[in-house]
């Protein structure tokens, strides 16, 4: 393979060279080796261009041109934080750095804290689910991560609801941060993690590049809702890597309402019999926003089920992308896979690209997928208006109805309510504005 030359990668590599002596865990040989490997891989691959099939619809050139620097955390304890969704347990990261002073994690039946503070004991855990060199966004994170949320729910413990607040403080110059989150649910444990990513409040340019390494053990259930409402000049490049063991459930919902350019990759491997994955999401786009949801679902064991429902609403000149691949390995008999992605275009200048992909090697499987792109139905709109409902309100009802199916797919009530509120909030801000 020829090396991809891209000036965008150079900036990040230079930053790595400049920072490496100060990065957390610099005296840990295994971590230094991991960062070196990542840098080598990133240097070889560069920032992906649209010539790479997996990046056909998302152009990262603006990212390479931004010239990011490390973030200078400037949010202090005096700042009002958004209300929590759960019972008050909260982990807060500012610019990708865990903030014990803003978090509320005392008295929990499980351990939650800073990745940076625990690094000496994390050999073999970092990179275990998301190999550093595999993907450019993971490699970028592996070179530069400083911190993240470290969370382990012990066997059999119901963890309740934890809020994860990820704030960008923003600065005069473009700032980048690359948190690495390590989440492990031991056998039979459960947790609902509701993540809200927001900021900066002014129009500072930021890059948020979080990587999640998630392990769901036998019979455990993790509900993971991500609400991304970042600033208008934000870049959000995330990758969730999850492994689900026998009888376990991973339920991911990702809401994209913010940032200028978003790419969310979700890689789930169902590794034990009877494991299941729910992957739902909504992309709510306006103006010149671009959002890309790319999912890889690996059915590696028999009798597993996966459900994916993704909805994209596009106003203005926005661009939406959905790429979803389901791989059913030969061993994965009795697989039940379903994938649906639908887009609603509110403007003639908006555009949606979708690419579903099934790759099936087992012979006794049930797998279906579908994709639709449409506009608001005139007959439905007229029906509502003929009952006296003003046009703007009628459109709002129909858009919320369109999104309803994806929100309903979320199994946890607290998470579902948080999503519902975020969806209506977006609509009131953007579409009725």
């Amino acid at each position: 393979m020829t090396a991809v030359r891209h000036t965008g990668a150079e900036g990040f590599l230079q930053r790595f060279e400049g920072l490496r002596a100060r990065l957390p865990g610099r005296r840990l040989p295994w971590l230094e080796a991991l960062r070196e490997d990542a840098a080598r891989a990133f240097r070889a691959q560069g920032l992906p261009t649209r010539r790479v099939e997996a990046w056909k619809y998302t152009d990262l050139r603006p990212l390479g041109e931004a010239g990011f620097e490390e973030a200078l955390s400037s949010i202090d304890g005096g700042q009002a934080l958004p209300a929590a969704h759960g019972g008050g347990a909260r982990a807060v990261l500012v610019d990708g750095r865990f903030r014990a002073d803003l978090s509320a994690l005392d008295g929990l039946p499980y351990a939650a804290g800073s990745v940076a503070a625990a690094l000496p004991g994390l050999e073999g855990r970092i990179g275990a689910v998301a190999p550093a060199a595999a993907l450019p966004m993971v490699a970028l994170n592996a070179m530069l991560f400083e911190d993240g949320l470290l969370l382990t729910v012990p066997a059999g413990v119901p963890g309740g609801v934890l809020d994860l607040l990820s704030l960008a403080s923003g600065g005069a110059r473009p700032e980048a941060f690359h948190p690495r989150h390590l989440i492990r649910l031991e056998a039979g444990a459960s947790l609902t993690l509701i993540e809200t990513a927001m900021g900066p409040e002014h129009d500072g340019t930021t890059l948020h590049n979080p990587i999640y390494e998630i392990e769901v053990a036998e019979g455990a259930t993790l509900v993971h809702a991500r609400l991304q409402q970042e600033g208008r000049q934000g870049f959000h490049l995330s990758a969730v890597h999850a492994r689900v063991a026998a009888g376990g459930t991973y339920d991911n919902f990702t809401l994209v309402a913010g940032a200028r350019l978003t790419r969310n990759e979700i890689h789930i491997a169902l590794t034990g019999p009877g494991a299941s994955a729910h992957m739902n999401g909504a992309q709510l786009l306006a103006g010149g926003q671009h959002a890309d949801t790319t999912t890889y679902l690996d059915h590696a064991a028999p009798g597993c089920a996966s459900r994916q429902t993704y909805k994209t609403v596009l106003a203005g000149r926005s661009r939406g992308v959905f790429q979803g691949k389901i791989l059913v390995r030969q061993a994965a008999q009795k697989t039940d896979g379903y994938q649906m992605n639908q887009a609603l275009l509110l403007s003639p200048d908006a555009e949606m690209n979708s690419k579903p992909q099934l790759e099936i090697y087992a012979d006794d499987v049930k797998c279906s997928h579908g994709a639709t792109v449409g506009e608001i139905d005139h007959g439905q709109l007229f029906y509502l208006r003929s009952r006296g409902v003003p046009e703007a309100q009628a459109r709002s009802l129909l858009i919320q109805a369109f999104l309803q199916e994806a929100v309903e797919g979320v199994t946890d009530e607290t998470a579902r309510a948080a999503l519902g509120a975020a969806v209506s909030g977006w609509w009131e801000r953007e579409a009725l504005a």
Binding site: H378, Q380, S386, G388, V389, P390
Partner: protein
């Protein structure tokens, strides 16, 4: 006068469908428009309700003296006009209760009445639903989603009962109904009868008019009123079919 239509012409995709309809409904009266398939019955109802794609090419239509053709559909509804659809539209993801309450509150707001909260609405809705033989289950489902033909029509009549229009246009509300459902629908319309309620009942068959007895019957042929008469005209059509009138009109 409630509704006045004078020389109304309309086209769909450039093709003339209504070719100069004239009729007037005094306040408090129910008029029937009967006609064979393709005579323009549904087009008339859509033009009056303001659906896109139905181009008015001539004539006027006023409701209580207001030019309704210049109004948006929601303004017509707010003015007191209601169209019961021949094919009620399904709205997956929109709960029927939310839909009905949104519509009722939109109309109440226009009338200067306070909006109803979810509990107040439920009380009002249940009262109306009882007489229509509808269950609470139908409030929880998506609008018309999974409803049988009869349930859809009853849901239309429920909307009419809640919104209390002063002019109802019923577009083949009888189609697809068995006799029990037909009676329920007719009772719903008859319950609204009064000096401030008028209706235009559009139908292919005379059957509905046994239960909603009209003051006048108009026969629509080729986008024009071919003849008008009392309720006995409907009986005659039932016996003789449209052919005799078609021959007379030719």
């Amino acid at each position: 006068m409630s509704l006045v239509i004078e020389n109304l012409s309309a086209a769909v995709d450039g093709k003339p469908i209504l070719n100069g309809i004239t009729l007037a409904i005094p306040a408090g009266e129910i008029h029937a428009v009967m006609g064979p398939n393709g005579s323009g019955k549904s087009t008339l109802s859509y033009v009056l309700a303001g659906r896109d794609g139905y181009e008015v090419t001539g004539g006027i239509a006023t409701f209580e003296g207001h030019d309704i053709l210049a109004m948006e559909p929601e303004e017509r509804a707010a003015a007191g006009l209601f169209l019961a659809f021949q094919y009620p539209v399904e709205l997956p993801g929109v709960g029927n209760a939310l839909f009905l309450r949104t519509a009722l509150n939109a109309i109440r707001k226009h009338r200067g009445e306070p909006e109803l909260d979810a509990m107040q609405f439920l009380k009002v809705a249940r009262e109306r639903m009882r007489t229509l033989n509808m269950t609470d289950e139908m409030l929880r489902r998506g609008v018309n989603v999974g409803f049988s033909g009869g349930e859809k029509k009853r849901n239309e009549v429920l909307q009419m009962a809640l919104l209390q229009p002063r002019l109802a246009i019923l577009d083949e509300t009888d189609s697809g109904l068995d006799i029990d459902a037909l009676k329920i629908v007719a009772d719903g319309v008859n319950a609204l009868r009064g000096p401030n309620f008028s209706a235009l009942v559009i139908t292919h068959y005379q059957r509905l008019l046994n239960y909603i007895v009209p003051d006048r019957v108009h026969v629509l042929l080729d986008g024009r009123i071919a003849t008008s008469g009392g309720p006995e005209l409907a009986q005659r059509l039932e016996a003789e079919g449209y052919a005799t009138i078609q021959a007379e009109a030719a």
